[in-house]
Structure formats: C-alpha cells, structure tokens
C-alpha cells in the first residue's frame, strides 16, 4: 500500500502526522512525504520543518493520497503542479483523502463536486463553495473520498482507513499501540461543545482574515 502525504510550505503538522502515524502501520506500508520540491518544508508556525524525501513526480500513482491542510493563505489552491499531480494521482488512487482545510485543496482541484465532505469547522462554507455537500461529521467517506475535520481528526481518519483496508483487528492493533484512548481534559473540541463566545470569537477572527 503506497501512501503519499503531500507537504507544502505552511501545512499544519498534526494534519499530516495523524494519518502518517496510523497508515504507516499498515502491513507492507510504503509511506512517502511528497512535495513540489523535495527537501525541507516548513510548517504553518515556522517552528518545525519536515523533509519531503520525494517529489510529486517520484510518486505518480500512490494507492492512498493524503492532503493535509493549513491556514488558507498557505494552501495550494491555484492551478499548478500540486493540482496537476493531485488530479492525475486521483485517477488511479484507491483512496483520496484530506484532513482539515486539505479538503479545500481537493475541492479546488474539482475532486469533491457533489460529494459529501468535511473540513475544519471554520471553513465548511469555503468547502461548499467548491460544490461539496458539506457536513460537520468528523470523518466523512463518499466512495473513495475520505475527508476529515480539523487537525486532530486525521487520527480517526487513519484508523478508519486501516480498518477498511486491513480489517478491524489491524485497526484495533494500531489503536492499541498508539494508545489512542483519548481523555481530553476539556470538552471543547467542536463548535457544538465549546463555549459559545469562544466559537464566536474565532468566527470573528476568521471573518476578518
């Protein structure tokens, strides 16, 4: 199972690493971080650099495509090499996936038109703008397209995919080994659960951005 995780300058780290830490544990997994230019790729806050070992051309036909997100200004939404690679890779992929605003990149490439899909809760409207049928669910599967909500949801997506690909037991094994028995100290992980004024505050910041 060849998995290609896209990197671009300004990606959000956990968006990429959540699926990585789960999908790389598939039997026979071959996981590559790919970027337009191989080499160091800085994350969104500039405090961490991941190395893309492969160029887009090096991995033209991954079985699983994973597209992380980032602040919208950082996303490769315009026509260009990333979009060309995505559209070509999608033609032969078994799964085309995204985490967080990564779904906007898929959407901009025309891959989510008419499909059920999700994104970071603050960006669902943007996703709808690409013709997706948006939902606030955490992991959304529509055929081979699997989109996950904000940042940390890539772990749930990764486990879901391991289950679909290798079966429940394999997924449970991965969950056990990454000890994914979440016990967040607060219950504020979604706009429905967080204090309303906090949600409003972020919506306002987003509106001005």
């Amino acid at each position: 199972m060849k998995t290609a995780i896209l990197l671009f300058p300004g990606f959000t780290t956990l968006d990429a690493v959540g699926p990585f830490e789960t999908l790389a544990r598939l039997s026979g997994a071959e996981t590559s971080f790919v970027a337009e230019r191989p080499g160091p790729v800085p994350n969104d806050n500039g405090r961490l650099t991941l190395v893309a070992e492969a160029s887009l051309d090096d991995v033209p036909r991954p079985d699983i495509v994973v597209v992380p997100g980032g602040p919208t200004g950082n996303l490769p939404l315009k026509p260009g090499p990333v979009r060309d690679w995505l559209k070509a890779a999608d033609e032969t992929s078994t799964w085309t996936t995204s985490v967080c605003t990564g779904s906007l990149i898929l959407g901009a490439a025309g891959l989510l038109e008419g499909r059920r899909a999700t994104s970071h809760w603050l960006y669902l409207d943007d996703l709808a703008g690409y013709g997706a049928d948006t939902t606030g669910e955490r992991v959304v599967t529509d055929g081979k397209y699997v989109t996950a909500a904000g940042v940390s949801s890539g772990i749930d997506m990764g486990l879901t995919l391991v289950g679909r690909i290798e079966g429940d037991r394999a997924a449970q094994s991965v969950q056990l080994m990454i000890e994914y028995d979440p016990q967040p100290p607060y219950d504020a992980g979604s706009p429905e659960k967080a204090p309303a004024d906090l949600v409003a505050e972020w919506r306002e910041i987003r509106g001005k951005a």
Copy 2:
C-alpha cells in the same frame, strides 16, 4: 514560554508532534526542536525526517522540556550528552514532561525516582525499574513532572499543560482549533479495552524483543 522538544534518531513522530501542536499555541510560545546534533533526525520507521533547528547547548534553560519516546532500542538511556542536558535543563524547568517511552529517558536520568509516572502500557515495568511509582493513567502530574501514556496521549498532555499555564479558556481554544473531539472508530485504545488476545500478542512480541 520556551519549550524544547527533544529529538533523537528513531523517535516516534506523534509523540513529539502531539505536544508540539498544542504547546506551540500558547501565547508567546517559543518552541524549538533540539537534538544532540542539529539537522535532520529520522523517525522510528525511517519514513519521515524532522529537522532539529537547535542543538542541546542552544537551549539550555527551556521552561518546558518535552521528551518523546520510541522503540526502546532507540532511546538515549545511557550516560551522555542527552542525559547531561536533561539533568541540567530540569534544574531550571517549570515543567519536565514526556510522552510514551520518553518517560524511560527521564527515568534513566534519575528524574522520576519515587514519583508517580506513566509510559506506554507495554513499558510500565521498565519505568518501575527506574524507581517510578507507575500508573496506567493517561496523563500523570507529580509536581512539575508530567508524563503521558503511549504515542497519542501527548495531545491530552499538551492540552492539560496549556490549561495549567494559561488557563481553561486558552486550553479550550486550542482544543477547538485543533478540533480535538475524538471519535475513534474502535474502542481498543488501552489494554483494558482492546481484545485480550491482541494485548497478549503484543505482550509476547515485547517479551521476545
């Protein structure tokens, strides 16, 4: 708040990135990845490289020390530069923390003797060998020492620390923005919850390692 996240060859990626994605969102956070030798540091499965921008000497007095884990054969458990740095940094740190088998590194440095602490569920005995009072809890705080269980628990630890340092609202804000509203597709994230034969299988593999 200066946070130093230790990297060493063969670390587990999510161990480091979970705390990073949360702690780097503290107001005025300065987060550095540090290593014995700055530059690219390969992870445990060899499919990803993170860049340590700083040497240990560059960040002698972090406020928060974060030590990720990895397969035990990869851990810097012997006397050497990492241990020297850890012991010195611990003298002035506000928080000394670990994720997964990172607690074995703290333990080997003599920092957890007589303290309540945790580790990846498969390695609690090893941790006890360093004189820690072990527990299977997910995030364990004993004074300024905060240890987290396996791999993914670093996210819960990071949120706990943000709450302790900057208050509940700041932590809820981080949780909301990383949309940490976990919905694992299975309930197998701890040895108590996973199928017993899967737990036994991993214990056997561990016993032979």
